[in-house]
């Protein structure tokens, strides 16, 4: 069986600095992988490269998504194939109503996949249903994308998009940053509701706290551009006690 995502020997540079030095990661259908590590270990770089953010040079290795070469695809093609990056800091887009944004994006993805576009009433029905489930008030959808949203609202808006676009791979980049415990719980509940056999997740976080809410199947520790150790969910608890220092030596 083909893995959903296979990262093999990935080397990435930004300007002339190598950030990832040959990273390997395999994610199968329905699995939740947590990637932990200290600041500067390359966690966010990995998420950006999978999503196709410009500004990174891949100098070695490959990324296969459903067996296809992901690095050859534009960011929008990756989204249409089922890659979703939940941003650490979702962007504010004044002048673009959230509803317009959601419909345009969803229909662009469907069009790219050769599926029929949603009609306005069908779309509205779907958004209403999903946003009610996530506790997102309707008036938030009329406002500009993320404009004037609190940190928690922005993350809930990311989860709403995840629920609408139904991606097969969700990458949650430091979802816990800037959230208090209540906001974190709401966002995590939203994510948990999306767990499914045909949906995998990569949860990137600095702290173990998030993993109390989104319980992973696997935990990987990154340090200095490599995965230095992998294990089950208990690895996260161990890290919480002993810190990252032990692994930094390992990577050196």
């Amino acid at each position: 069986m083909t893995a959903l995502l296979e990262v093999k020997g990935l080397k990435v540079q930004v300007e002339d600095n190598e950030i990832l030095h040959g990273l390997d990661l395999t994610v199968n259908d329905g699995e939740i992988h947590a990637i932990m590590g200290p600041n500067g270990s390359g966690k966010s770089t990995l998420s950006h490269v999978i999503a196709g953010k410009p500004g990174y040079d891949v100098t070695g290795g490959e990324i296969l998504f459903k067996g296809e070469d992901l690095l050859e695809m534009e960011p929008d093609e990756r989204a249409a194939k089922g890659v979703f990056l939940a941003f650490q800091y979702p962007m504010e887009i004044p002048g673009v109503a959230t509803m317009t944004f959601l419909r345009t994006a969803l229909n662009a993805q469907r069009k790219a996949r050769g599926e029929s576009e949603f009609s306005t009433p069908d779309f509205l029905k779907k958004v209403k249903e999903v946003s009610a489930r996530l506790g997102i008030p309707q008036d938030m959808l009329k406002r500009g994308v993320n404009v004037g949203f609190s940190g928690g609202e922005k993350k809930r808006n990311e989860v709403l998009q995840m629920a609408l676009f139904e991606p097969s791979l969700c990458i949650l980049d430091e979802m816990d940053s800037g959230l208090d415990i209540d906001a974190l719980r709401i966002a995590a509940d939203g994510v948990n509701a999306l767990r499914a056999k045909n949906r995998s997740m990569i949860v990137i976080t600095h702290y173990q706290r998030l993993l109390n809410y989104i319980v992973p199947d696997f935990v990987h520790v990154m340090s200095k551009g490599r995965v230095v150790t992998s294990g089950g969910k208990e690895l996260a608890l161990e890290l919480e006690k002993s810190g990252y220092a032990q692994f930094e030596d390992k990577a050196a």
């Binding site: 929008d76 249409a80 962007m91 662009a108 993805q109």
Partner: protein, 440 residues
Amino acid sequence: MNVALVKSTEQPYGELFAEARGRLPGDGLVASARKAAFDDFAARGLPHRRIEEWKYTDLRALLRTVAPLAPSPEKAALARAAVAVKALGIDGTQKFVLVDGVFVPQLSDVNGLEKGVSVRTLRDALEDKDNAVRADLLRTTVASDAMISLNAALATDGMVIDVADGVTLTKPLHIVHVATSSETSHVTRSLVKIGKGAKATLVESFAAADGAKAYQAHDSIVVWLGDDAALEHVRLMEDALDAANITTGIFTLGARTRLNSFGLTRGGAVSRYQGFITFAGEGSELATNGVNLLGNRRLGDTTLVVDHTVPNCVSREVFRAVLDDQAHSVFQGRIIVRQIAQKTDGKMMTRALLLSDECEADNKPELEIFADDVACGHGATAGAIDEELLFYLRARGLPEKEAQGLLIAAFVGEAIESIVDDGLRDIAISTAERWLAARG
């Protein structure tokens, strides 16, 4: 050192006026007013970069000369004009169509005027011997400028519209300028009076018929708002690619009036709109907004002078320019607050979005404040599309062009949203969308 330049341009202008004279309506008083205006123009010549107000729009370099007056449009030209009027796609307005500077009743909605509106042509008004002050129709007191004088000297026609006190119009009044002839000047001047407590919408369109090239539109629009009057004003400029459009707007606002003015320019090699807006009565509110969508080597210049001569008025200016290729956008905004104009609240904000490395945006705010209890401010930005925003949209599945389009539409949206009339707002939005689509 300017002498040589002035001399070299003086000669052809004399001929220009001599040739035009026989076709210009109004004799006696009117003719001498025209002569005085022309002499003023000839003495100054086309404005050039050493004249501060025209620093970025050097007409001597851009136009070189004033094109001769267009002949009166013939049957074939009128047929082409009719197609252009239809192509505007604006329904439900009371249209007054000027073709190459001449009013054409058969293309206009001359019947079915709403109660309280009276309309005549400038030609009629200038030839009305019963009106002792008919020459005043050509005079401008609030500003002095070579192009204002040229317009007064050569105006062949225009609309003179009067909305009676207390009348609320349901249909927008719509002055449509259509160019059919090439390498000629189309000189028009319209005057609009909105009576006390009256409410109206005024739309102005500039369009080119198929085949009209390198023409020069020279227009003036003079508007008075009586006390408590309200006017929605929308200008849509879609001139031919190699045409020039030099328009002066003169607005005088009575007490407690509301003027909401919006302009969109996507046409012409050279488009200059200079607006002079005077607060003459207390408690009035002005919003003047605009969008320039410019590609190729087009130049779009908006120059505004907002003069607070009385206390307690509010002015807001919001401008957006989207520039591609070697396009050039100019915004000059002057706010004058006279010493007695206490409690003035005046703000302007202009932003330019630069889509290429070779486009240019110039922005010149000028605040002249003589009163001490006022709130005035201005801001300006210029920059490329935010790459982070673009990536966010692309990561959500929008192809690059579509993502750019959405961001550009949002960028100009703030200015377009100010149009109150739903239909006109949709027209402005679809004009912007067409421009985006044409970028390809």
